[in-house]
């Protein structure tokens, strides 16, 4: 949802985010909603600046979010508060699931399909009855030998089996009731520590402010993603919002507040290892169907729904990358794409570096010694590289760890023993280069260069462009097959000025896409073809540069006070400038708005098309009563009815129950964090059975109930600093606002260990220990969990040894453990010990 659309919400639940501190601009719209009478709620382990501005603060133990959200799901079901007309028609609430499916709640915390030997799930029992549903985001059925396309054929033959009366014992509604039956308000209190009255206030306010006339929004950020169950936390929110009918409607939805400025952009044009631009799958070397391009297309093309267009997007991408050197004769250069062979995410890579498998590394705008989990392990790894290129605006910790880091401070290594050759190259700041930011609601916003960077500093674009140019020159005469991707890579950007700065607008033109070989800009992704006659760097961004001289990302025309408030003239939101995704759902199945108050999209019978002040996220002329003609085995969008708004899903419906695409279950269930002081009160399975643990000597994890680490630790950010701290710790005006590292502890704990405000304390985990100042505050609350007294402490992770604002690195404490789906670390919930005093450090050498 658009950030500014939050102003239309009747209730806002901020959870897994400290929104006022870390997204103050977006929080402006929460405040606007509040001015109009919306109730604002904050469920969070800490009482933060966000809580101070909320009507309700629900304190929960870090990592217990699914218990809280599961409690809300149960509350909605038990009190019959489901927006039935919405959830039955627009979601898979009535769909019937395979008869052998068993919920985790009835099976000691494991869903059906658990394969002890492989230590992973088989997904057969999670499917719709008699029908295999592929994941919209490709990483599915990795180890099946059978062609995936064969298994999903039935999608052409008819709609999934369902029971609109919701009585069938294996329909999703009944499964939900069984799965969340135990998540009573009492259980919520027992697991999360949140008083049940407070929990009920939140659940009640969400439900009361949902329905035809009202909408509620949920905002989350890295407070949810940074868990081994992060993906399922977000899934739980999606289930709540779907049951309440809050997706695709004004003021409703889920706002994923991104971790920093253009993180959305770096998932769209990904720095992620398993996706190509526009959420296309990266081929996997172990997948038999990925050996050749035609098999890959056949396997990855989802028969029904929008993703049926996949071949057009991937072919246009390959054309954009390799130009005239590819065609049907050489599989469009498919063989030149790198194939993944496993988990190549940051956590896995950290270990691979430490194991000496990776020899060289580029760091562009990242400071892993501060931001990476298990910081000492990261340092050891960096110290084993042959070479390391660091591009940044300052000499960051990751560039000078070899003389100032933990290894030399603790005399584990001497600087002269660290052989890594480090190249530190100055980068330019945002104002010193042109380009785009893609923000939290998919809004691509262009910024001009204001001033040239000083000295030798250069933009990232300059660096990558000139590196590629030099590589191409080096390989120009090579006849080796493996060098062809470098030789054939297109690099047709104009470079200007004495610095030969490549034009960022040329890159954006290519991302938008053009015809081939004429290079005439395409107006939208609907013009892309699978025959090589179009080239497009990222299909989702298509439309951002529809004419050679029309950079829509640079447009800044707001609606004004009397306008509709969708601000279509303000920059460009992917896809196709649509501001609210799935906005067909804002009208009822017949195409009428659910209410006048929440009007956004409606069917105009006279004109024969959908109308809206927004761009419509649906086929513009498909009438609400269109039904697929199953006798003709319809494909793509033809297989979706006029009342099925979720066009990216194979069945056009929001997935309350997710049959494919997740490795840890089709529904969320509460697991404890990998490092937790509490036994899972809900079932025998303690933590996520598929969590990535990487338990090894340099990444030790303690056993459950280890008395050495009794407290809950959460790490977080402050509004005064930015992520790894490079842009703020070295700037006096921001450094003075939070000039030194600290950890927040509750007064009860301070009394117990005998420290007062600002005294030194030592935090320790099996990975290491840090010393810092105690900020004793009642904003941190001790919890009663399952009859036990649990203290929770928090430590900001911005600090390091460089800049004006310094402090010990919080990530020395964290572990390399990750979510099974995203490989995201769990730095928001772990355990620690706290004691008074300082660490005795052997200063330098032996």
């Amino acid at each position: 949802m658009a950030q500014w659309d939050l102003a239309n919400a009747d209730a806002v639940l901020v959870m897994g985010s400290n929104m006022a501190e870390n997204h103050p601009i977006a929080f402006r719209f929460v405040m606007q909603a509040k001015e109009k009478g919306a109730v604002v709620m904050h469920a969070d382990p800490r009482f933060t600046r966000t809580s101070a501005l909320s009507d309700i603060h629900a304190p929960i133990r870090a990592g217990s979010d699914i218990a809280f959200l599961g409690g809300i799901i149960r509350y909605i079901l038990e009190n019959d508060l489901v927006f039935k007309e919405y959830a039955v028609r627009y979601a898979n609430l009535a769909t019937i699931i395979d008869e052998n499916f068993i919920e985790a709640a009835r099976n000691e915390g494991l869903f059906s399909g658990w394969n002890e030997e492989k230590h992973s799930y088989d997904f057969d029992t999670w499917q719709y009855q008699g029908m295999v549903i592929p994941s919209a985001l490709a990483e599915h059925y990795l180890d099946t030998a059978e062609s995936y396309s064969e298994m999903t054929k039935r999608l052409h033959e008819g709609p999934p089996p369902d029971d609109p009366t919701l009585q069938h014992p294996n329909c999703v509604y009944q499964i939900l009731k069984r799965q969340y039956a135990d998540y009573t308000p009492e259980m919520v209190e027992r697991v999360t520590g949140c008083p049940k009255e407070t929990f009920l206030k939140v659940a009640e306010a969400l439900a009361r402010n949902s329905g035809p006339d009202r909408t509620a929004a949920i905002c989350y950020a890295v407070g949810w993603t940074h868990h081994t169950t992060g993906v399922q936390m977000i899934r739980a929110a999606a289930i709540v919002q779907t049951l309440l009918g809050n997706i695709g409607r004004p003021g409703g939805g889920i706002l994923a507040l991104r971790g920093h400025t253009s993180i959305q952009g770096s998932t769209d044009i990904p720095t992620l290892y398993n996706m190509l631009p526009g959420y296309l799958p990266q081929p996997n070397a172990f997948k038999p169907q990925a050996r050749h391009f035609d098999q890959f297309l056949d396997d990855e093309t989802i028969p029904t729904g929008w993703w049926h267009n996949f071949p057009k997007y991937i072919t246009s991408l390959l054309r954009a990358w390799y130009g005239d050197s590819v065609g049907p004769e050489n599989e469009w250069g498919y063989q030149w794409l790198p194939k993944i062979v496993g988990d190549h995410s940051q956590l896995a890579m950290t270990l691979a570096i430490d194991d000496g498998l990776i020899k060289g590394m580029f760091l562009l705008g990242q400071n892993p010694v501060i931001g990476g989990s298990n910081s000492k392990l990261v340092e050891r790894g960096l110290g084993r590289l042959d070479w390391l290129v660091v591009r940044d605006t300052d000499e960051i910790e990751s560039a000078n760890f070899w003389r100032k880091g933990h290894l030399v401070q603790s005399a584990e290594r001497r600087p002269e023993d660290i052989g890594t050759e480090i190249f530190l190259m100055p980068g330019e700041l945002a104002g010193e280069k042109a380009g785009t930011f893609t923000n939290t609601h998919r809004l691509i916003q262009w910024h001009d260069r204001v001033v040239e960077g000083p000295g030798d500093s250069r933009s990232e674009l300059w660096f990558v462009y000139h590196l590629a140019k030099r590589l191409k020159a080096l390989y120009a005469n090579s006849e080796l097959e493996r060098d062809r991707p470098i030789r054939n890579l297109t690099l047709d950007y104009r470079a200007e000025g004495p610095r030969e700065e490549p034009r960022a607008d040329d890159v954006l033109r290519e991302i938008n896409g053009y015809t081939w070989p004429e290079k005439k800009q395409v107006a939208s992704f609907k013009e892309l073809k699978a025959d090589g006659s179009t080239a497009c760097g990222c299909w989702l961004y298509s439309g951002v540069y529809p004419e050679d001289d029309d950079n829509r990302a640079r447009s800044r025309i707001p609606d004004g006070p009397d306008g509709p408030g969708t601000h279509l003239g303000w920059a460009f939101a992917w896809p196709a400038n649509r501001r609210t995704l799935y906005n067909r759902a804002s009208a009822d199945p017949d195409g009428k708005p659910w209410s006048e108050r929440k009007r956004l999209v409606w069917w105009d019978e006279a004109e024969g098309k959908w109308q809206s002040p927004d761009e419509i996220d649906f086929e513009p002329e498909k009438p609400p009563h269109y039904r697929p003609d199953w006798d003709k085995k319809p494909e793509g969008m033809d297989a979706l009815g006029g009342d099925e708004p979720f066009i990216m899903m194979p069945d056009g419906r929001s997935q309350i129950f997710s049959p494919s695409g997740l490795k840890d279950g089709p529904l969320p269930t509460h697991y404890e964090p990998v490092q937790s002081p509490v036994r899972n009160p809900l079932h025998a399975q303690q933590d996520s059975p598929v969590a990535k643990k990487w338990a090894r000597e340099d990444n030790p994890l303690h056993a459950l109930g280890d008395p050495r680490f009794p407290h809950v630790l959460t790490t977080y950010r402050l509004t005064e600093h930015h992520s790894g701290g490079t842009p703020t710790r070295g700037v006096p005006h921001t450094a003075e606002l939070q000039p030194e590292g600290f950890a927040e502890i509750p007064p009860e704990l301070a009394r117990q260990i005998g420290v007062r405000n600002l005294d030194w304390i030592v935090l320790s985990t099996p990975r290491g220990e840090v010393e810092t100042r105690a900020l004793v505050t009642e904003r941190l609350k001790p919890f009663e969990i399952d009859g036990r007294h649990i203290f929770q402490v928090g430590m900001p992770w911005h600090f390091g040894w460089e800049g004006y604002a310094t402090g010990d690195i919080a990530n020395v404490l964290t572990a390399v453990v990750g979510d099974a789906n995203s490989s995201m670390h769990e730095n928001k919930a772990l355990t620690c010990d706290v004691r008074a005093g300082r660490i005795r450090r052997s200063r330098h050498r032996r």
Binding site: D55, L718, P732, H733, E736, P739, F742, L775, Y804
Partner: protein, 301 residues
């Protein structure tokens, strides 16, 4: 704290792209000499982001201070000074029973108060009245500004200010304080702090407009159950006591002024001249009488 290398390389900024009368777009205010301007700081909207502090220092090129970690909640600048002209106060005020903290909140900053403090630009400014050189003057926008080239550093303004705003800088020995961005106003720009405030807690405008807005806001808040909301520094309200009449930078508060580091009943020193003079003369007379009596007695012996 030394100047950062990067900052030293680029000491100048460029102002080529400022649109004329920008404040009309950013604050809905047309800035014209002869009208009265000020700030209305609504603490119930403040999220404590400190953007105002940073924007103020960036625009006015004020140095950072190296105070270290204070341990006073998130307040590490602590006070207004010669080099800090906007300052966000933090006050943790968690009411609780035993270990249980409250979770149902009035919703407008009930447990953690935050307020962005600034020079009040008093309508009867005591600093201006105390200044013997004429360095402190009232501008065409009805704001109060210290002219650095005239100030001789006598420091009379410092104790004169009932809010402790003005301070002599250790480096140049002269008085410094907020100018309400006098230079920006002359260029048609909204003051830096107000422009940077993401939640409109700091509002810039004509005094009469701000007054109306503020009174309506208090009414609204009362209607929504925030019965403690009141104005500080508006005519006839706390803060505009002791002959100060009104503060051009005034505030909406939800607790006692002292909790925000504001005096409950500030007084203009000039108000105290007559009574102080009276008491002084009376004391003199009394002493003289006593001395005379003693002298007379000793004479009698």
């Amino acid at each position: 704290m030394n100047v950062h290398a990067r900052a030293a390389q680029a000491p100048e900024s460029e102002f080529e792209h400022v649109p004329p009368r920008e404040a009309e777009m950013t604050a809905g205010v047309t800035i014209e000499p002869g009208k009265r301007y000020g700030f209305f700081t609504d603490t119930t909207l403040c999220i404590g982001c400190k953007a105002c502090e940073v924007a103020c220092k960036e625009w006015n090129q004020l140095p950072a201070e190296d105070g270290g970690l204070t341990g006073m909640s998130y307040d590490n600048t602590q006070r207004l000074s010669a080099t800090t002209w906007r300052h966000v106060t933090f006050l943790e005020r968690m009411g609780h029973e035993g270990t249980r903290r409250p979770d149902d909140l009035p919703g407008f900053q009930s447990q953690w108060l935050m307020m962005s403090d600034v020079c009040k630009h008093c309508s009867n400014a005591p600093c201006l009245e105390a200044c013997p050189t004429g360095a402190i003057f009232r501008t065409e926008f009805d704001t109060v500004v210290v002219q650095q080239d005239i100030c001789n550093g006598c420091g009379y303004c410092v104790p004169a200010c009932p809010f402790g705003v003005v301070e002599l800088d250790e480096l140049d020995g002269k008085a410094h304080k907020c100018t309400l961005c006098y230079d920006r106003l002359k260029g048609g720009l909204e003051p830096a702090c107000a422009k940077s405030c993401p939640t409109d807690s700091i509002q810039f405008g004509e005094i009469e407009d701000l007054d109306r807005r503020a009174r309506k806001r208090v009414e609204d808040l009362h209607g929504r159950g925030v019965v403690d909301a009141y104005l500080y520094g508006a005519p006839g309200s706390p803060g505009s006591t002791g002959g100060l009449e009104r503060l051009n930078a005034f505030f909406l508060l939800v607790d006692r002024p002292e909790l925000y580091n504001l005096p409950a009943a500030p007084t203009r020193p000039a108000e105290r001249i007559a009574p102080a003079l009276g008491t002084g003369l009376a004391a003199m007379a009394g002493l003289a009488a006593a001395a005379f009596a003693l002298f007379a007695r000793s004479q009698r012996r």
